[in-house]
Assembly symmetry: C3
Homo-oligomer: 264 residues x 3
């Protein structure tokens, strides 16, 4: 966090300098007296970075295929993790006046088996975009809690009692219902966990992803998305976790939580 | 193997416990008295894991887009290797009453240039599915024999005198004919090996894969699949290997066999 | 380079031996008295390798979906880097009588966030193909100069005063105009740099790539391609670099140039 404060100052200095020189040289800036510079909001676990642009350039906005009408955007990107960032963004959407404009999953995790993420919030007001990014970054420690990894792969579990727009956009989750996410890598473990989960409780399967058949960006994961009664969803997720951990550990030894498990 | 035995016991204990608690809580299980729990079959080289599900949940079966009519499935998944697992599965299909339901190639190899794999066998009977998984795991040491790697990339060669359903599904190989697989990473080496192979003997080119033009999941590989007379196929594969090794070694030094070469 | 000379000798020996044995066994070679063997041209930074095939096998040529009429091909492939190799190839196209037949971007960089590359030149004459490969390899040290990396990701910047066929094929760059490339990983940084770049000078946005929305092979990059007046393009690229470096360094510490920056 101290490191982030220092980085913010460095970044602000760069922007101030750029902005001054731009005003002298660029025809684009001569008409708009002082456009707000982009902001560095902070960093979090998983090489996650949060940024804000107050007024996206119109030509770029179009190339990015973003929905029109949102000048301010919040950006959260990470090398490691998609589910944790999306669940964290779901809390941000509940807490801010923003919309999820896009969620993209690169094939990443720095040599691991999964995804990174790029989430873009749209807002009318830059303060709302900044707030959404801040909430997302602050929630990440929690949502990384049921990510378990070792050298052979990883497991991920997410649960929310009320899914909102980020879970809907990212995982096809029905709004305002309990939602659960079960991810296993290598994918074989995810397939078995999926079967255990749907048999453990009465839940609706709302999505399934696998390495080359949709729902992933060619990651080595099988992914189950479930919705339904909150007790049933949690029960299904926990059953999958109980089954998945000894399987992953049979390949690569102890698979510890990335932070602290939150699904209890 | 001892480790696998221990893991099997741990896994069986988890399943027993889950099954008991499920019976008390889940309406789904109340009608079917004692569904068979999923089984952990074992592990093998390449972070390969083998699993069996006796009766896949129907909703999940549909989401997985698996062909209907096979309740029992065998699952083989790996972080490292696709060709070795598919050639091993080809022997399993010959030895068991199973069908290949799907083969998916994640972009993996733990930071390397190639694929991992997810292979699903379908069977009427759980014993057949288990047998197919066991054979696949036991064949892997052999089929990893002509995988050569160093820090700069890898080469892979496979040969079978009689291709069966796994090679057909995975590589478009004609049934019951000799089949050869030639893989080079970085892809440039694979391109050159492909040219050498087809000129070295009279073979049929049945497939070609490259990084972003089909046949791979964006791996850094060029892949040639050849079929024909068994002597010619083997000659082509061996010529490619002779040419590929010094090229890979020019980039990254000595590229040793992963286990013991079998194409001789 | 000394290493490359040794590798060339080893490779030539292998080809001589193969060619002799092939003539005895293969019906294909009996009619054409002495086909030219493929050539190992050399290696360069990024696990880049350069190769030449004088006369690609027709069946393979077709499977590779290469444009007809170019018997000789030059091949440049790399584990790490796409922009650097494409910009280097752009110089090669200017200096040789070759055409760019294909550019493919694997998801690679050896566990990093970006791409590798596979570039194929077509030529009537093998000497032209060889020359193109040699120029590409020799330009790579320069074009790697504005690639900056640390453990958290990388930034890449390219600039050319006159884009040619490689930039056109790879990045949709208008011919003979100044062209700039801006790449940030994790992708969030690339998005912000793109916005800064287009606001810093009057340039045309000719392309945009992001992790799962086109323009990448699921890499964790956002990529901006710009064209226009040479001063403006350079100004935009430099502004993006000034903004991107402190952001990447906020995640992963000092991000040094891979070789020596050339955009000044």
């Amino acid at each position: 966090m101290q490191q982030d404060e220092l980085s913010k100052q460095v970044f602000a200095e760069v922007m101030k300098r750029l902005n001054t020189s731009e005003k002298n040289n660029s025809p684009q800036f001569s008409t708009s007296p002082s456009p707000m510079p982009p902001e560095f909001v902070g960093t979090a676990i998983g090489d996650t970075i949060g940024l804000v642009i107050a007024n996206v350039d119109p030509a770029l906005h179009q190339m990015m295929k973003l929905e029109k009408g949102y000048n301010a955007i919040g950006i959260v990107g990470a090398r490691t993790g998609a589910g944790p960032q999306i669940l964290a963004a779901d809390e941000a959407v509940k807490a801010s006046n923003v919309k999820i404009l896009s969620i993209e999953l690169p094939r990443d995790t720095k040599g691991g088996a999964g995804h990174g993420s790029l989430i873009i919030f749209g807002a009318d007001d830059v303060a709302d975009a900044r707030n959404a990014v801040e909430v997302t970054l602050s929630e990440l420690n929690r949502t990384m809690g049921d990510v378990y990894g070792n050298d052979a792969g990883h497991l991920e579990f997410q649960y929310t009692a009320r899914a909102n727009y980020a879970c809907q956009k990212g995982f096809n989750a029905p709004m305002n219902k309990a939602f659960g996410l079960i991810v296993g890598a290598p994918a074989a473990i995810g397939v078995l966990m999926a079967d255990v989960a749907v048999k453990a409780a009465q839940v609706d399967v709302v999505g399934y992803g696998s390495p080359a058949n949709g729902g992933t960006s060619y990651s080595n994961e099988a992914i189950l998305m479930i919705s339904g009664d909150s007790g049933a969803v949690k029960q299904a997720v926990i059953a999958a976790r109980e089954v998945g951990l000894p399987l992953l550990e049979s390949l690569g030894g102890k698979a510890a939580s990335t932070t602290t498990p939150y699904i209890i």
